[in-house]
């Protein structure tokens, strides 16, 4: 289930990135590549497990769904941290400047 959810997140993020391109102020390209990297890795992992163990290709249950959500949240958290550190709008810089002036 987490493979499907991550692939869906990758497709949605890529579509949003494409609509906004060539501008990539909010680093959606980074988020899309994060999701695509994980999607590719899990696809290979699932494929090898399916071919060698002959189990189910997709694990669909509440635990797998919760893992899929957690994966998406973690990717968004990492992206958020990168965005805050790089601060493309200069918001943090302005806030800190204002704090210093008070």
């Amino acid at each position: 289930m987490w493979l499907i959810m991550t692939a869906l997140a990758a497709v949605i993020t890529t579509a949003i990135w494409y609509v906004k391109a060539p501008e990539d102020k909010y680093k959606l390209g980074l988020l899309a590549l994060f999701f695509w990297g994980a999607t590719l890795m899990w696809f290979v992992d699932h494929l090898i497990a399916y071919l060698t163990e002959r189990g189910e290709f997709f694990e669909i249950n509440p635990d797998a769904t919760l893992l899929g959500l957690s994966v998406i949240i973690l990717a968004l958290v990492v992206w958020g941290i990168v965005l805050l550190v790089s601060d493309p709008k200069g918001v943090l810089k302005r806030v800190l400047k204002r704090q210093r002036q008070l």
Binding site: L33, G37, D45, I48, S70, L74
Partner: protein
């Protein structure tokens, strides 16, 4: 078990290579860089993002399934000598397959981007966003 360690090792190497390449490209003049198409540091940054993104998210999955623990020896399989050999086998098969697939997809991405960049007339060439 620990298949994500293989792409993680590759990510560490490619990140170091990207830093070295970026420093070299800074020394080359703007004109020379334009003549060779897309910068290699940019192309490598795509690979790094694919590898690091996948590694981080796969690491979470391994923690979720109890294959990675926050205490030494970190890999649950390392706690039982009987599990070490299967873990190494999984790294050598699944881990290597994952690393090769991601690198192959990146190579196709680079080839397509290069072809597209070369097809654009010189005056209209703009850096592809989403890389850095």
């Amino acid at each position: 078990m620990a298949c994500f360690l293989v792409p993680m090792s590759e990510a560490i190497v490619t990140t170091a290579v990207q830093k070295v390449v970026a420093n070299r490209e800074k020394k080359i003049s703007e004109e020379k860089t334009r003549n060779i198409g897309l910068k290699w540091s940019r192309k490598l940054s795509w690979l790094n993002k694919l590898l690091w993104g996948g590694t981080i998210l796969l690491a979470l999955e391994h923690v979720w399934h109890g294959e990675v623990a926050p205490w030494p020896p970190f890999l649950t399989a390392m706690g039982d000598p009987a599990d070490v050999a299967p873990m190494l086998h999984e790294m050598a098969t699944t881990g290597v397959a994952i690393a090769i697939t991601v690198t192959a997809v990146w190579a196709i991405m680079v080839m397509v981007a290069e072809l597209k960049a070369k097809a654009i007339p010189e005056a209209k060439v703009k850096p592809v966003s989403g890389g850095e």
